[in-house]
Amino acid sequence: MTYFLDLFLSGLTRGSIYALIALGYTMVYGIIALINFAHGEIYMIGAFTALLASMVLGSLGLTGWGLLLSVAVIAAIYSGMYGWTVERIAYRPLRGASRLAPLISAIGMSFFLQNYVQLAQTSNFVLFPDLVPQMPFLKPISAYLNRTQVIILLFTSVSMVGLTLFIKFTKIGMAMRAVAQDMTMARLSGVNIDRVISVTFIIGSVLAALGGVLIGCSMRQIYFYMGFLAGMKAFTAAVLGGIGSIPGAVIGALILGFAESFAAGYISSSYRDVVAFIILIIILIFRPEGIMGQAQTQKV
């Protein structure tokens, strides 16, 4: 039973990080129907910025909660800037082009960012510092849940709630929902489409950066290629939950996290990814629009 609980909790944390990245995919997809392949790279850049920031701030003498929070904020700001720039360069000039053009451009951007970090930094694994401070009050449950997992669950749930509130109650959130429903109609009602899209990219990137910081804290090492697999997993999660749907992305990510964790625990860790992908294929065959997605009927 303890083994099961272990797997359950590790699946939960794994799924939470996938969820943070998957939200960026699903929001962008919901608005401009684009698979943003460069999103995984933004997450990787978030992790690298966090590492550099923690080194600089650490050498300036910052420690504990202050260090963790300021590193997270810096990583989030930088990733947001990167997300905005990527959209400006690689996607905005392609509005109105065919479906494949932005996808290829996204893949190109992903290559570019990967190699940029590899050339500017290193192609090796880099150790990530342990940013999570000690929490003595966790003593009673520390057998099941370590402090990094607590932080991951905390950060993730706070950002989920924040995002939901943002989309529900702010004006720009309303504009985002409007654009996702019908872009032309939203434009006619005076919504500035370009601005909404930019904000979407920035929010997605900020969440991805948080994911990057958290994965750094939990895996304790990062490298330039980490964005690829994580991005692919997160995208899988987004599709699983029904791409374009925000609660769907979270559910999909959690399912994926549990599936991987249990597959690794009960079958074999080398078949972890195979199980995840097979689940995806099976779900898509029986429910092509994903778990929470709405079936689109094609009108003539």
């Binding site: 590492l51 082009a97 990814d273 094609q298």
Partner: protein, 465 residues
């Protein structure tokens, strides 16, 4: 009232152009600031700070930003002119067709047939006068031509985004590798078997994904590719990540090509003595495969099936309404596309004699997809050119090998922004209703349909009613 252009006017114009470029340059420097100036030393977890790279970055982004803005404006201008012409029914209407590019000139040329013969002759002589390294590069390029043409059937012609194409290539390669390793079967037996296995796998993948379209299809094919790679990596039969080595190269009637034939070639044809003649033989095999593929896809393009695919790409509902069996069209596209990947895989295994799962990663699928997209989706000459450029160019760019992939990524973005149709854009056949004006045509003045490939045929030019 006259306007005199003064220095301040010019200054203002220059400033209005330079200001955004300066801002962009500043922004990029700000973005790159932490990652470009701080470098981590992974061995002792220290970092060092240096501003050395920033001036180059600032200057580079400034110049690039000016070029970027210029070309974006030019693109917008061309778009507007085209739209105006179209709306007024001016020059660019159907009768005149689009401006003849060099490709259509080549197509319409009287010497086309002779040109093809000359090209074939050059291709046949080439391996005998080049170095072993060049032959290897050429074989790789031709393998990518086959892969590109195969994927073009799936993505370019039928519009089904397949992100796991490399899996079929892997299946072909492993079919030969395993059968050769365990049963000693020869290349010629395995070539059709590899194609067949890949086709069957294509059908196997095709059946469940019939109902999916667009991005869902993309993600399922992507998963399929990853599953294939992971399974190959984990099975004991395939020897896991160590892969299969010592695969036999293709045999030529049991003759040892590096024996007597090599002596003859080296002595009388001055072939490089370091050359492995098996490589030359592989070159000719893949050349024949490419030629067969090209003929096949050219014939397919205007067949009943080819047109069904085009219709399916344009609109699935409308194509079904026209009585096209969508299921069959999709399945054949998947299966045929996979066949070529399987055949290319067998040749690949015999070329490098060693295969492991790492050769068939997602990057490979992306490379083949880039060949199709950069070359021009649906355009056969485009795909051939794209394959040659993308597989041979990195070899030529060895001197900045570390910046190779960086440039490759940037090139993909630029290509999509400024030339989304690819290097050689595919032209749809246009049928025009031609009335007979000067009696040169079919005499009795009846209307006839004439196939035009983009540009009008020579005799059609002066006859616009």
């Amino acid at each position: 009232m006259t306007h005199k252009i003064t220095a301040s006017h010019i200054g203002r114009v220059i400033w209005s152009e330079f200001k955004p470029a300066l801002l962009a340059s500043f922004w990029i420097c700000l973005l790159a600031f932490p990652i470009m100036t701080l470098s981590i030393n992974p061995t002792n977890q220290s970092f060092k700070f240096s501003l050395d790279r920033m001036p180059y970055l600032a200057l580079g982004t400034f110049v690039l930003s000016i070029l970027w803005r210029f070309f974006l404006k030019r693109r917008a201008f061309i778009g507007i002119t085209k739209a105006v012409h179209q709306s007024e029914g001016l020059p660019e209407d159907l009768r005149k067709g689009p401006k003849p590019s060099w490709l259509t000139v080549v197509k319409a040329s009287r010497y086309r047939r002779q040109g093809i013969y000359v090209l074939l002759a050059i291709m046949a002589i080439l391996p005998f006068i080049s170095s072993p390294y060049t032959v290897n590069v050429m074989v790789t390029a031709l393998i990518y031509v086959t892969l590109g043409l195969g994927l073009n059937v799936v993505v370019g012609v039928s519009g089904l985004l397949n992100l796991g194409y490399i899996a079929f290539y892997a299946i072909g390669a492993y079919t030969y590798g395993l059968l050769n390793h365990y049963f000693g079967l020869s290349f010629w037996v395995c070539l059709p078997l590899g194609g067949l296995t890949a086709t069957l796998m294509g059908l196997l993948l095709g059946f469940p994904v019939i109902r999916l379209s667009g991005d869902y299809l993309a993600i399922v094919t992507l998963s399929f590719g990853e599953i294939t790679r992971l399974v190959l990596n984990n099975l004991t039969v395939t020897r896991g990540p160590r892969g299969i080595s010592y695969i036999q190269p293709a045999g030529f009637f049991g003759i040892d090509l590096n024996g007597a034939p090599k002596e003859f070639l080296v002595n009388y044809l001055r072939v490089d003595p370091a050359m492995d003649i098996n490589k030359i033989f592989t070159y000719f095999i893949i050349l024949c495969l490419v030629i067969v593929t090209i003929i096949f896809v050219f014939r397919l393009e205007n067949s009943r099936l080819g047109r069904a695919w085009l219709a399916m790409r344009e609109d699935e509902v409308a194509c079904q309404a026209m009585g096209i069996n969508r299921t069959r069209a999709k399945l054949t596209a998947f299966a045929l596309g996979s066949t070529w990947a399987g055949l290319a895989g067998v040749v690949f295994a015999s070329q490098i004699t060693f295969i492991n799962p790492a050769s068939f990663s997602f990057l490979g699928s992306i490379l083949v997809l880039s060949i199709v997209v950069l070359g021009g989706m649906g355009s056969i000459p485009g795909v051939i050119l794209g394959a040659i450029v993308l597989s041979a160019l990195p070899e030529q760019l060895r001197f900045f090998s570390q910046y190779r992939m960086l440039l490759f990524g940037a090139l993909m973005v630029l290509m999509m922004v400024f030339r989304p149709g690819g290097l050689i854009q595919s032209t749809r056949e246009v049928y025009i209703h031609k009335t007979n004006g000067n009696g040169k045509g079919d005499g009795n003045g009846t209307a006839r349909l004439e196939a035009l490939t983009g540009a009008p045929k020579p005799e059609a030019t002066g006859e616009r009613p």
